[in-house]
Symmetry: C4
Subunit: 229 residues, 4 copies
């Protein structure tokens, strides 16, 4: 029988007993992005951030979704010009329930990598490889891999990240065991996020024209262009 | 063959033949929350409440979702500062189709506990333990446990709550059998609620900046910060 | 191998080669509802209707969702006072690709009945019974039953409705075979509709207060009332 | 163990190393539609486009959702008058990572065809047949078929399109192997899109009347018209 213990009082659950940098972390990173392009605070106004974090003995794993971006065309329409992603942030433990945000390792899942995770069988493994500098003069300097391997007995997965830096001659490894229940949260959240990071929710839920122009629509040729060619 | 009988006339289905306190219950609790902080009625304005309730011979079980809360940062962005949850309310029966709301027992499911329920196999059990006073001087005074155990033959679960009060020397136990169909409703509703109580829907569906600043976006460094470090 | 043939030209697919009353049907029914309460056209303004219809040799089956209703409380909040439902409309065939809307039979699925359908195994059956007049003087005059029985070989279901009228001494039976693909559409649409007919989407996606009152929120007692009791 | 390699640097991932016509493709097609009905650019304003594309050695496959359309009734309500669809676009490769958009082949999936794909077992096949000119004088001139056949070992599917043109005496065939992870993306995106192309999301998320008329609602006859007949 699976048992989950949660004896934290509400006050503790609000604040979490963790290094402060962790909790301001995802926002600090976002601020860094906007600051580097000048004063873009007005773009952050109203933006929202939320992550799901699993704290274990040797490391913590936090995941949060990143929106796709759209660019405006001459026609006034918008086309997605970059997929969103789901960012995995690994934090090494530096004491009991303390994690060092400055030594974080990041791995951004593409839609297809998300598809891989949500279809993973309980006894299956998967591994993704990223090279941030491929096709540039720095190709091969940094290599990242993310793998999920089963804990056994349908009880969850180890999530492992390895970052090999050939310049600094360093290899960082972090591993976080996640339970079946935690993976169910991730699978559900990733499945929910997937159509959003693909931009499909924005395509499918913005329909002003469908109402405003129903008369014009009738006079138009069939928009189902399969038959047009 | 599964058979479901629903012979209630429409008038009865509107009002439900139950003690009135039950049906004003979820709202009464919300009003108590706002009243205790002064006149916050304007905050309730427009707020909506809905629950799914299963009425059985010895007790009823009602579930409803609770939104996460976000706090505004200096940058103008919002960060989730508390997860939402799914509240389970147990009500003992005090007569035929009458339930006593004043003797209710509550259990708030965290995202991970929700993940546990929605991934529960038909023959699996799970149990959660809460201590509202942990890490305070009242630690151990009240202990709550919630368990789901299979009814057998893939026909549903017993949902059991036990509340042990070491000060009042009382133990309250309530148990509600739920059918496979009722669990399918709960599983679907919990799966739907999960990304919302995690705050991910608010992150993923608020995208004013993605449109307004498409030009500026082009000049910015790559927001996929995996490659930045 | 499953094969689906769709040789309809686009013009035919727009209009469907059916008795006009069918296609104005779902709206006619809605208009009847509003008309019976006087001139409520302003309430229909902006309302939208869409159904999924399967046309077979002896009958057609159309399904469409019905929203729950909320009532305003003194506090300014809204509470769901009636579940939504998913309406099944059966239409007998009266010729090749012609169906008689005036002889329709209706069956409104409650959330739990929807839960039953979406969790139905490929070899399982289910049956629902409704008596519109139960607990009134007309109890037993009309009895409805809806059943799903497997077509065999994981290839879909027969959906059957029987309406027994003890006053008119009539029994109407309609049966529509639905393929595995059509049932997948219904299962997906019903799973999508379920949190909406339960009102949970309205609870979870209306969150003005979560932003406006973040400071006040901090001063409030913990809203997770599990710990309050 | 499944391994996914993604060594593209961010700059490359932004632009994709492809023939420009591909990337302006989905929009070009939309512009063609609107242009053919005159200057309808104002209808495109605010409209959004996003697709999911899989690039393989001999061909690429891109999928994007198309919204249903609603028409306004005399009552002020809107009724869906055409289902949406999910468009599959096949592009033959004309060089390394270059695809010819002018030789594209299109196939628009109906809701039932989407239902077929999302319920396809790992060892199952399916095939759809379209004739754009059926029931017209051009019937049989062009025949299209789309099939999915398993790659074997639960590792994905071949997606094949055949377009037979009896006038031009040509047969075009394109085939794209998709991995299990890519199919998981498609299945999740198609499942998400299905209620939207059926119009159900618009029915279920537009509920102004449910709030404005709660008093009137009480005086109305039961809207659950199952009992009305």
């Amino acid at each position: 029988m699976l048992r989950i213990y949660r004896f934290l009082p509400s006050a503790s659950r609000r604040g979490f007993d963790l290094k402060e940098p962790l909790w301001s972390g995802s926002l600090t990173f976002q601020q860094a992005v906007s600051t580097s392009a000048g004063n873009l605070d007005e773009n952050l106004s109203g933006k929202k951030f939320a992550s799901y974090t699993v704290f274990k003995g040797k490391a913590a794993l936090s995941i949060h979704p990143i929106l796709p971006s759209f660019s405006k065309m001459e026609s006034g329409a918008y086309r997605m010009n970059r997929n969103g992603s789901v960012m995995l942030t690994f934090l090494p433990a530096v004491g009991q329930r303390k994690y060092d945000y400055t030594k974080k390792q990041l791995f951004a899942l593409s839609p297809t990598e998300v598809g891989c995770l949500i279809s993973l069988g309980p006894a299956e493994s998967c591994e993704f490889f990223h090279d941030p500098s491929m096709k540039s003069s720095h190709e091969g300097q940094v290599k990242k891999s993310l793998s999920l391997t089963p804990l056994g007995s349908d009880s969850g997965y180890f999530v492992n990240i390895t970052v090999l830096n050939n310049v600094q001659k360093t290899t960082d490894r972090l591993s976080v065991p996640i339970t079946k229940a935690e993976f169910a949260v991730m699978r559900t959240a990733l499945s929910f996020a997937l159509p959003h990071i693909m931009g499909w929710d924005q395509v499918l839920t913005h329909h002003p024209a469908s109402l405003a122009s129903s008369k014009h629509r009738m006079e138009r040729p069939h928009p189902d262009s399969e038959w047009e060619r």
